[in-house]
Symmetry: C2
Subunit: 188 residues, 2 copies
């Protein structure tokens, strides 16, 4: 693997673990086993490197989610599979995590992959919920967008509870709660 890619991979990992502000070029260089010269040769600076790393993380998240959301099974089954998919809940969401970083929110280049990815996710979930309603699986009185936002929020908020507790249990409970509520809204 070339130096440029090692720098990107190291940055993605550190952004996930520590966020943008707390990730120094120095730490990235160490993790990537690259010198300062390499970093500033391949990238204009910290923000430039982070922006490209973040775009990669966003793409990966989308691919992983799409594999389930566009996968097999009825719409309602796919929503439930999205919720119950195995997650390393103590690590949190590599994209959602960035919303706590003020520097990310004030930089258009850093914020864009975050906002676009989460907007895409809610959109896709809302589409699936509408499909489930059209197929007669889910009660028609639910607003698809509101339900989708609630599903995505349960995952994002579950990470918060799990990290606060230092335990995966609150996350699993939150997912169970969402699944139970959704099943209660199934037709039949």
């Amino acid at each position: 693997m070339d130096t440029r890619q090692r720098l990107l991979d190291a940055t993605r990992e550190l952004l996930w673990q520590r966020g943008y502000a707390a990730t120094s070029p120095n730490a990235i260089m160490k993790a990537a086993r690259a010198g300062q010269g390499s970093l500033y040769h391949h990238f204009a600076g910290k923000e430039d490197l982070a922006a490209e790393a973040l775009r990669g993380s966003a793409e990966q998240l989308r691919e992983e989610a799409a594999a389930i959301l566009d996968g097999e099974g009825s719409p309602a089954e796919r929503i439930e599979r999205y919720l119950t998919r195995e997650r390393d809940s103590l690590r949190g969401c590599r994209i959602g995590r960035m919303t706590a970083d003020a520097d990310v929110l004030t930089s258009d280049r850093l914020r864009q992959p975050v906002s676009e990815t989460l907007a895409w996710l809610v959109d896709r979930l809302a589409g699936l919920i509408a499909d489930a309603q059209a197929a007669g699986e889910l009660r028609a009185d639910l607003d698809p967008r509101a339900t989708a936002s609630c599903v995505a929020s349960t995952v994002q908020g579950g990470y918060v509870l799990a990290r606060a507790a230092g335990s995966t249990e609150p996350f699993d409970q939150a997912i169970t709660g969402a699944v139970q509520l959704l099943r209660g809204a199934m037709v039949g």
Copy 2:
């Protein structure tokens, strides 16, 4: 207001806005209009000051939540009122926010108010849900703890979506979604 209290208030505000790692003693001093001498006279250092400030934020959050959760109305009404209570969703949760800060999670003194407060919240919500079931308001097949975790996660995750989008709308949608799902689980 005395200098010590001004330092605590300024710290609480900055912790909310920027987190622990990104908040410097210098910024606190400026916001509190206090000198370095004052800070290190009243507190042992940054962590000591932040720990006391965080305890204050936690207490305030608990008081505000308790005013609704222990307030008037039936158990189910109070849960819904907790969800729909007005919130400055772009600011996020002053306590939940801290879970994104690695330094907070690795310090027992800083982590404790965060974990205890969120655990208390989920506990209290679970109690209310059990009460609603006992009163025949809510279907008995929901697990109280799972449902409570889902409710708390919806709020915490709603903040993430709102901050990512730079708009309060995703938060409001998530709350609406949770309310609709809960209403669907009402008896009768």
